[in-house]
Symmetry: C2
Subunit: 720 residues, 2 copies
């Protein structure tokens, strides 16, 4: 038995499928256990080969013009005798007609468990490896998972474990567990292939059969060659030719500018938006701020300059807000005057999708590249850095905090920071809205924030990504030190792609981004609200040992909802072990105090000594990882003439945190009635908790969601 073609021959072809034999030969070199097979040109040869292989065998009629062998009746399986082989050979030859070139003889691999493995090239991330349920039902069932190459063994194992039908890989109905080591080698081999052979566009191994003994055999395989260009995540040509260090230094200057020039300042605010100049000034910017307007001598009592060349100095940042058609000239002014740090607020370029905009975009891109300009934008809101008193939109908190936010959308930059700071007390270090990413991209800001000591948590809102591979590599590294919380918009709009393989057809954006999050450990959120709630948990807790929560609360009806919420988010709400129960029962009497999980115990809230003791016991046990206090304010308000709520709040802030044993503790504030006194109590409590640094959530679902993300992040870190 011999492998029919050498790998060298394969290289000479482009953009076409390899033959089955070629495909298998290539894959065998990357650790794929392909079925033995041999070529028979004549019927006698087929019989001899079958006898040498051992019955039962499979016979396939092949030829370079033959696709869909099964549909054409060119596959005969389970041939048990020389006679059957002889008859089948004749039948296949006849059925293949002029297309028939030869027959392949293989042992008949029996096994009911069919899987698929493959390789595709994602336009943003390059080579991606697939594994899933195979056979003819791959697309119909869709139980496949992806990983972005390169994969190590642990990635491959995680990948296998993510499959819904993974139970089939264990001991199953009298058959042995699959040889997982072999599966891992197939997946890491495909990863290697994807990186080493950019000329290979797609690979499909389907079915890969798991036999009754657990052995793994690739029965069919398809390898498609491509041009080796374009789709291997080659990013757009880089628009800034500087080193990372130079770009970092420039962003540091832009976020802490000592001088700013604004081009396009008008005297009268047009439609209500006060303009970039007024935004910066109104926020209390303490540096030198120059209005630039060729038609005015002064703006609001400040001397105006006709152009950048006339300024008394080169500035740390130029903000361009002139109409789109005037942006090319403004950029030329930047070059002439030696100003390189630029934020273009103006829109009307690529994002319009219209001809005029696209043309203008190409023009400013050329000017910026040739001039070596470090452009943020266009079509973006720019910067918000409270410590620098720098803001290029209308309103934001002046307080600084540990979160930095990179947002492709200007609207989301404003909305998220407003929402997070005013409603959840989350404050920011640097916020950058970068729009069309003409020169500087999300990855540039990410590298800057990774090294920024003031930034402890990075949040990102992404739509398109210019260089997915770079983003993947960066976040993989940074997330191990600083949590990176990502909202990826636009995943519902996955377009169809023209592909030849199962793997290619399944590689939709949603599945690839799922791999992105799984591999980088970045924290996935699907809305700005979720982003804020999760950030809040990460601000307050730097560790979390697991997913087992205990809820301490009263007010009724919380039990069923708590169980449902935890199950949905993937937290556990374990039954309290008997010894713990006994310990609690020593000082909490049964009347009015149910000790299950959630614990519904009036006494705990009423007597702070009992409260502290309870927390000590709950946080002291290794069976629980996090504590949730659920306060039903409408119910509590009627107690102790309403003073109880404030007392509980002060107790949590002053005392409770000393009794958590370092485990996360959050408060859920439930309040529904319109009663103004209760609302007042609520505001009071929220303020106490906010000032005291205890995160409060307005529903159990939200608290549980945030804690589940915290737990998942720390589990990921711990596993590395």
């Amino acid at each position: 038995l011999c492998m029919v073609e050498s790998v060298d021959r394969i290289k000479t072809r482009t953009r076409s499928p390899l033959s089955e034999a070629e495909s298998k030969s290539l894959l065998a070199g990357y650790g794929v256990p392909v079925v033995r097979e041999a070529v028979a040109m004549h019927e006698d040869e087929a019989v001899a080969l079958s006898e040498s292989i051992g019955f039962p065998v499979v016979l396939k009629g092949v030829g370079k013009n033959i696709a869909h062998k099964t549909e054409r009746g060119l596959v005969k399986v389970n041939l048990k005798s020389s006679e059957e082989v002889l008859n089948s050979f004749r039948t296949l030859k006849e059925a293949g007609g002029d297309d028939w070139e030869e027959c392949l003889v293989q042992p008949f691999i029996q096994g009911r468990r069919e899987f698929v493995a493959g390789l595709a090239r994602d336009p943003q991330f390059g080579p991606v490896v697939m594994f899933g349920l195979g056979g003819i039902f791959t697309e119909a069932i869709g139980d496949v998972v992806f990983r972005i190459a390169p994969l190590n063994e642990s990635d491959a194992r995680d990948m296998i474990g993510e499959l819904a039908s993974r139970t089939l890989l264990g001991a199953f109905r009298g058959e042995a567990a699959a040889d997982t080591g072999r599966l891992v080698r197939v997946l890491t081999g495909l990863s290697r292939l994807g990186l080493e052979r950019p000329d290979i566009e797609e690979v499909d191994i389907n079915p890969m059969i798991v036999g009754p003994d657990g052995g793994v055999t690739a029965v069919d395989a398809l390898v498609v060659l491509g041009s080796g260009e374009g789709k291997t995540a080659t990013p757009d040509e880089k628009n800034v030719s500087e080193t990372t260090e130079e770009i970092n230094a420039a962003i540091e200057i832009m976020t802490h500018p000592k001088s700013v020039a604004v081009m396009g300042v008008t005297r009268t605010p047009g439609d209500g938006f006060p303009g970039m100049y007024a935004c910066i000034r109104n926020f209390g910017y303490p540096g030198r701020l120059y209005p630039v307007n060729p038609k005015a001598d002064e703006i609001d009592g400040v001397k105006a300059y006709p152009d950048l060349v006339s300024l008394p100095e080169q500035v740390d940042l130029v903000v361009i807000s002139v109409p789109a058609p005037l942006v090319p000239d403004a950029l030329r002014d930047c070059i002439v005057s030696g100003n390189k740090n630029i934020h273009i607020f103006t829109s009307g370029f690529k994002e319009t999708g219209e001809e005029a905009g696209l043309k203008l975009h190409a023009e400013i891109e050329k000017i910026a590249r040739e001039g070596g300009l470090r452009v943020v934008g266009p079509n973006c809101m720019g910067f918000y850095v409270p410590a620098s008193r720098m803001l290029t939109w209308t309103e934001a908190s002046t307080e600084s905090g540990p979160v930095s936010f990179i947002s492709q959308s200007g609207g989301n930059a404003q909305d998220f920071t407003s929402y997070a700071s005013s409603r959840l007390g989350i404050h920011f270090s640097k916020v950058i809205s970068y729009g069309n990413a003409l020169a500087l991209d999300s990855t540039d800001f990410l590298e800057y924030l990774a090294r920024d000591d003031e930034t402890r948590i990075i949040a990102m809102y992404l739509e398109g990504v210019k260089d997915g591979r770079k983003l993947f590599d960066l976040i993989s590294g940074i997330n191990l030190k600083k949590p990176v919380i990502v909202m990826k918009g636009g995943l519902s709009e996955s377009g169809a792609r023209a592909v030849a393989s199962h793997t290619g057809s399944m590689a939709g954006a949603e599945k690839i981004w799922r791999a992105f999050f799984r591999q980088t450990g970045a924290v996935r959120v699907d809305s700005l609200e979720e982003m804020a709630e999760v950030a809040k948990a990460f601000i307050h807790f730097r560790k979390c040992g697991g997913r087992r929560a205990v809820i301490l609360g009263t007010g009724g009806g919380v039990g069923v909802a708590a169980a449902d919420s935890c199950a949905k988010a993937g937290l556990e709400l374990p039954v309290l072990p008997p010894d713990l129960l006994e310990q609690l029962r020593e000082f909490i009497p049964p009347a009015g105090n149910m000790i299950t999980n959630p614990i519904d115990a009036h006494l705990v809230l009423l007597d702070h000594k009992v409260f502290a003791h309870t927390l000590d016991i709950l946080s002291g046990t290794p069976y629980l990882d996090m504590l949730i206090i659920s306060l039903h304010l409408d119910w509590l308000r009627s107690r102790e003439q309403g003073t109880l709520i404030e007392k509980i709040g002060r107790f949590i802030v002053d005392e409770a945190r000393r009794h958590t044993n370092g485990k996360p503790l959050v408060v859920v504030v439930r309040q529904y009635q319109p009663n103004p006194q209760t609302k007042e109590c609520r505001s009071g409590l929220e303020e106490i908790l906010l000032k005291g640094g205890v995160p409060a959530y307005e529903s159990l679902q939200k608290a549980v969601f945030a804690l589940s993300k915290l737990a998942a992040y720390h589990a990921f870190i711990a596993a590395r």
Copy 2:
């Protein structure tokens, strides 16, 4: 060829699996296309039968002590000659040993598409029919759907269409589309079987093979007999022996009582909760209210009575809030005094799960049944009927509205009504919290509300259900006339059950309740917030023609989020057709006005003539079904010195609704900045919209979710 056993013999067995032949014989009578098969006791017989059936055949070794034939090597498939049959017969007989009784000979049914159909008995809903992807992977993949019997043809078709792998039933890889008519007959046949044969516990038809010609054949089948009792949704013995009309009349009296007695009134409110008597009085109850307390002569200046017998009249409602151990005596007092309408507020019964509570529960259940008492509760909050000024908790709106709410949880009854009325302007007709359902259950209240002219929409919060079948039947009928919105708590806690079949093992609570919603058309929500948001849409819109939305808004960043939200909720956000675009472009200039979907057009908001004209065009086209106006207040506030927002609100209320062509129109109010003036604008706008009867949502996601439920409901109604 003969069917081997008569159906009559089957009946004599109980609680055991029928043989394969018995199973098939029974199922054949219900329209299941079972594979032909014949019994061979001797090898010659096997060969003769095979020749008569036609090769290839299948041989199975069977016997009453043989389970798991395949694992024991007792199945030989694809036998192509008399010789193979002969050899196989001998092998099987030997392999079966003493357990072997006979061989079955069947034609070898070839087909790659394997499905499963079955019947199970749900403890709450009785017979349920399953259909799904079959073969050995049924459990591993879990692509199965259920329906509660009885099924008609249209239910069966809907069921098939719900399957994720339904594409396999179409023309697939050179094979013909499945004979859907036959599949429908199998599913409706199983439904019939489930209803006609309560002695049959489970049925599994797996695999049911769809052949290359689309033909359907049941190759294997298992029928398990049970006791025919208990699990066929026989409800708990009915605790009220009255007719529906009598119960309805009693509930009408209890919700509109002319006189109420409260047992267990203390002078000093204990722990802040003022008690039932004070709750009723404080809400302004206008009827005759009697405090009952054997230890006091007067309560708050009102004459107190020692017991019900001493009252000057029989009352319309007795509210019992004495401690749990005194409840039996209180009920006896009810019987002696001839009072039958009772609400027991007190808790400490079955819900504790403890022995004392269970014993007390049994005691009061006996008293209530023997006395014919119509008990609401125990362990519940009771009634809220604003028109009667009747409230048995501390706080609620006095305004009436079209929604009635039945809640098992007292906490949820209070929380939902408070939240809905104070934050969303939703008002109620009748709210009933019924707790442990000692006598009256959710279904009793449902029947009452179905006939109540003041109730236009019914909302329900359910945990356990006593008589699932009755609930199913009732909601199936009522929902066609009044939307029924249901939140089912506790679905995450589905326990494992001991079952013999695939069908049984897959019949988890989540899957069965999914069928419940699909079949009744009841509107499913997963939180109280969702319930309120959906109710709001149903209050305002009595029809909805489809799922295609257009969004009209400005403020940036809304496009991507809108597409994602709509995709998630199952709404369409269609591209506007060219003729519509042309019509709009006639009066909306391109500058600053993007006409895509969402439409981002400044002019529309600024010029109300343009706004009205735009609405006319959008609502006039048959391509769109609903209109969403998304207002970004932080952005709008800077326009026209903040007066624009109020103007837009007034326009929407006064004018816009005349331009919707009867299609739903909702407003999304987005506002993030802490700016107090903007917040004031927001409150002002929300008030205008609320008073004007235009539903407003605080996020696009929420609006889109509510509208998707509205669209789904009306699509369901239209299909009937």
